[in-house]
């Protein structure tokens, strides 16, 4: 198995430079893979896939007929990030999340940013994620977006850009942890030699953060993970995180509000709950505050929340800053709250409700990617260069009818990575989703994050629901970490009279 015939085809490749030489830090990996006997890599790839199936690391796919379980396709060649490069990303993400948290808090309270004319009021108030019942809320420690999974992409110029801020219930972190486990099993020697920053302490960090934001005065706060149930596509992740943190995984029917407090039903009666990491949409949390037809929700939860009886992560209403229209203003938001320039830039964005932008978009549909602001998961999208004339005309009609609901961005030449295809490597496009924990004491960025790969040749869509897979992401250590010496122990006892 060798990289000899691998062609970057003019794209920015994460492992090889334009001349086809390994990038710094990747040479060791490439040497080792090149040295593997014929078909050994395929064998390890198969073993990794079998392990995923046996571990039941699957997601649910809904089709017309029945719901089936699939493994999230996993490619065995890791993506490598240099320590220095990562440092910049980490600073940029911390900056961005801090500004967005201030923005959300402002929107639901004083609305200074609107009054100062930085962002139009109607644009914020008409955002899909804006929640009226959240006006005036003061979440514990002033934190709204505790957990974020920001989507980054690297363009042909080698620069990173923010593609999307996922501030509601970003998923995928469990795959980061499981991918890492698989890679340690599959390539122990390479892993050992490369000195990769660890990701395994994410659940501990998450638990610490959740306990930090508990309502004031609570000792030994009880945190839970709230899942919509086993039929949710991300159920594996919900149970995985609960298991790794050692906290209960609850469903709506396990919870109730009793005398103003949030409780769970246990074999010994009711027990109070202090912090809820909810993996359920705002709309379904409380039929009294949001959608009345929600069967999954807990009546009275929002009331208990607004009285400070329980903490919710993320807070309801954070979706307002996750709107694709609001996204266009994030550089201004960062400047407004922090007085700084963004460290990581937005992808240049044309807002179709601005006349000039709309005109440009309509004239250049064949060069742009058009996105509906209230859709996610790769749906409601037009990829101009790959679309037919009829599809472009259809989008032109929609944009003219509802300009508020569309943005457009240039088609990026997303960076690529080598992926194992049958018996050789081919380049495939990737993005990167790092996870950020925004706590009351500190902000933690998981080194690396989820690298999603568009496994279909030439495709730019990395979503798992549309043929995407993932890779382990290695952030290398800046310098060799010092090894610690362990104390010497006594020898174990042996049976008397035995041969040795």
């Amino acid at each position: 198995m060798r990289f000899d015939g691998y062609d970057t085809e003019g794209f920015y490749d994460e492992i090889f430079d334009a001349q086809g030489n390994p990038r710094p830090g990747a040479d060791l990996l490439i040497q080792r893979i090149n040295a593997l006997p014929e078909s050994e890599l395929q064998r390890r790839q198969k073993a990794a896939e079998r392990a995923l199936l046996n571990l039941g690391i699957t997601f649910n796919v809904y089709s017309n007929e029945a719901q089936t379980e699939k493994i999230f396709p996993f490619d065995i060649v890791p993506r490598i990030l240099q320590a220095k490069e990562w440092e910049g990303i980490e600073r940029g993400l911390k900056q961005r999340i801090s500004a967005l948290n201030s923005f959300i808090d402002d929107v639901y309270n004083e609305q200074k940013i609107i009054k100062d004319g930085v962002i139009p009021a109607d644009l914020v108030l008409s955002a899909d994620g804006f929640r009226k019942p959240c006006i005036g809320l003061e979440p514990p420690c002033g934190i709204w977006c505790h957990i974020t999974g920001t989507d980054l992409v690297r363009d042909g110029d080698g620069e990173y850009y923010v593609l999307e801020d996922n501030l509601r219930c970003p998923s995928g972190v469990s795959y980061v942890l499981e991918n890492r486990l698989l890679m340690k099993r599959t390539f122990p020697m390479v892993f050992d030699a490369c000195s990769v920053q660890p990701v395994t302490d994410y659940p501990s960090r998450l638990l610490e953060m959740l306990q930090e934001v508990a309502p004031p005065g609570v000792r030994n706060p009880v945190a839970v993970v709230w899942t919509p149930g086993i039929y949710n596509s991300a159920y594996f992740e919900h149970s995985f995180l609960a298991q790794q943190m050692g906290v209960p995984l609850v469903e709506g029917s396990d919870l109730l509000v009793h005398r103003g407090e949030v409780m769970m039903r246990t074999t010994k009666g009711l027990e109070r709950v202090d912090v809820i990491y909810r993996r359920i949409d705002d709309d379904f949390m409380d039929p009294k505050a949001f959608r009345a037809d929600s069967m999954l929700g807990v009546p009275g939860l929002m009331k208990a929340y607004s009285k400070g009886k329980v903490a919710l992560a993320n807070a309801p209403g954070t979706g307002v800053a996750d709107d694709k229209a609001v996204y266009a203003y994030v550089p201004e938001i960062i400047k407004y709250y922090l007085g700084e320039d963004p460290i990581i830039n937005n992808v240049p964005t044309y807002a179709c409700w601005r006349d000039d932008d709309r005109k440009y978009v309509l004239e250049n549909l064949d060069k742009l990617v058009v996105k509906a602001v209230n859709e996610s998961g790769g749906y409601g999208m037009l990829i101009g260069p790959h679309a037919t004339k009829a599809e472009r005309e259809e989008f032109a009609r929609r944009i003219k009818a509802k300009p508020r609901t569309y943005i457009a961005q240039p088609t990026l030449a997303l960076s690529r990575v080598p992926v194992l295809v049958d018996d050789h490597f081919e380049g495939r496009h990737v993005d990167l989703r790092p996870y950020i924990l925004f706590g009351s004491k500190s902000t933690y960025v998981l080194p690396g994050g989820l690298t999603r790969v568009a496994l279909k040749k030439g495709s730019l869509v990395v979503n798992s629901s549309q043929g995407g897979g993932s890779k382990d992401t290695w952030v290398l250590n800046a310098a060799g970490t010092p090894s610690t010496e362990s104390p010497l122990q006594q020898q174990s006892q042996s049976q008397e009279g035995s041969a040795c």
């Binding site: 046996n54 919900h238 209960p248 995984l249 074999t267």
Partner: protein, 325 residues
């Protein structure tokens, strides 16, 4: 712990135990029919009867044959107590409490399910014995993994209590298989076939060697005593009920010999019965009748456990829902 989680752990253990025991039934029966002369060979209907699902069977298949009995008891998705259905239900329960159990437990159960699921696709039963042994081994591995990777706390006790009640019920049914088979053929009693049948019966409960150590000669009465009343053999009904009671006391915190709810009370009464039962009592009551009444009482304990631990209602909830529903 959450009531829902306790419920799932209890049932996932019951379902695994049930799958294992169905495998035992069939394996024992299969061997008996291979060893028996023609007249006694066709013993599949009694087996269906002992499973308790004879009505469903008749609706789906009509008359019992080896092929359709095995299909029904092993792979049939329409039979909620087939091995496939049990393992699937166990896995679904485990999936809903994956955060509570250890990942080793989940992985074992998931692999078990994938094995049955693949076998169901192949439907080749050339070597049924090995297949049934694999099922028993998978179940034993699950118990061992559970014991050595999960906290022996409340959840573990719910699991063990479920498994013990299920096993007690199934051991009574294994004894009943013999009852049904030998009743019409009194001629065999005391013959070499009788020895073969009883030996097969003991083997199906993994009891043959342990019985030999305890009682030596094959003696039907001693076998009944061993499987019903032995306090040390882990598949004996008495042993199972003693162990279930220990778990129950651990869950409630009640001292031995006392109770604090109806589930604990009904299990305690059943235990008292077995603590003081004698072989003479059982035979004077009638073996089949005694087995049947034991099953009924185990079911009653199960129903109380459901009420007390898994679907407790708050006083105001009960008041709100009772007049209308």
């Amino acid at each position: 712990m959450l009531s829902r989680v306790a419920n799932s752990i209890y049932w996932l253990n019951r379902y695994i135990e049930r799958a294992e025991n169905v495998a035992r039934f069939i394996d024992a029966n299969y061997h008996m029919t291979l060893d028996s002369p023609d007249a006694a060979g066709d013993q599949w209907q009694p087996l269906i009867n002992t499973s308790g699902d004879h009505e469903l069977f008749e609706k789906l298949y009509g008359e019992a044959s080896r092929e359709n009995a095995i299909e029904f008891l092993v792979f049939d998705r329409n039979n909620p107590n087939s091995i496939y259905s049990c393992v699937r239900a166990a896995r679904e329960n485990a999936r809903s409490v994956r955060e509570y159990i250890s990942s080793e437990m989940w992985e074992q159960l998931n692999t078990f399910y994938l094995m049955i699921n693949n076998a169901a696709k192949e439907v080749s039963l050339d070597l049924p014995h090995q297949f049934f042994v694999d099922i028993m081994t998978a179940s034993h591995a699950f118990i061992g993994i559970t014991d050595s990777t999960m906290n022996h706390g409340e959840g573990w006790h719910f699991g063990r209590m479920g498994r013990m009640l299920e096993r007690a019920d199934k051991t009574t049914r294994i004894l009943d298989v013999k009852y049904f088979i030998l009743l019409p053929s009194v001629d065999y009693v005391g013959s070499s076939y009788d020895n073969i049948f009883w030996g097969a019966l003991l083997r199906s409960a993994s009891a043959f060697e342990m019985y030999r150590k305890r009682h030596g000669r094959i003696d039907p009465k001693k076998i009944v005593e061993f499987l019903m009343l032995d306090p040390h053999f882990p598949r004996a009904v008495h042993f199972c009920i003693v162990t279930a009671m220990i778990s129950m006391n651990n869950i409630t915190g009640s001292p031995r010999g006392t109770y604090c709810n109806k589930a604990e009370q009904s299990l305690g009464r059943l235990l008292a019965e077995f603590n003081f039962a004698s072989l003479e009592d059982i035979f004077s009551f009638g073996l089949h009748e005694y087995l049947d009444s034991t099953q009924t009482r185990i079911n009653a304990v199960g129903a109380e456990i459901q009420k007390v631990f898994f679907s407790p209602q708050l006083a105001d909830e009960a008041a709100a829902s009772s007049p209308l529903v």
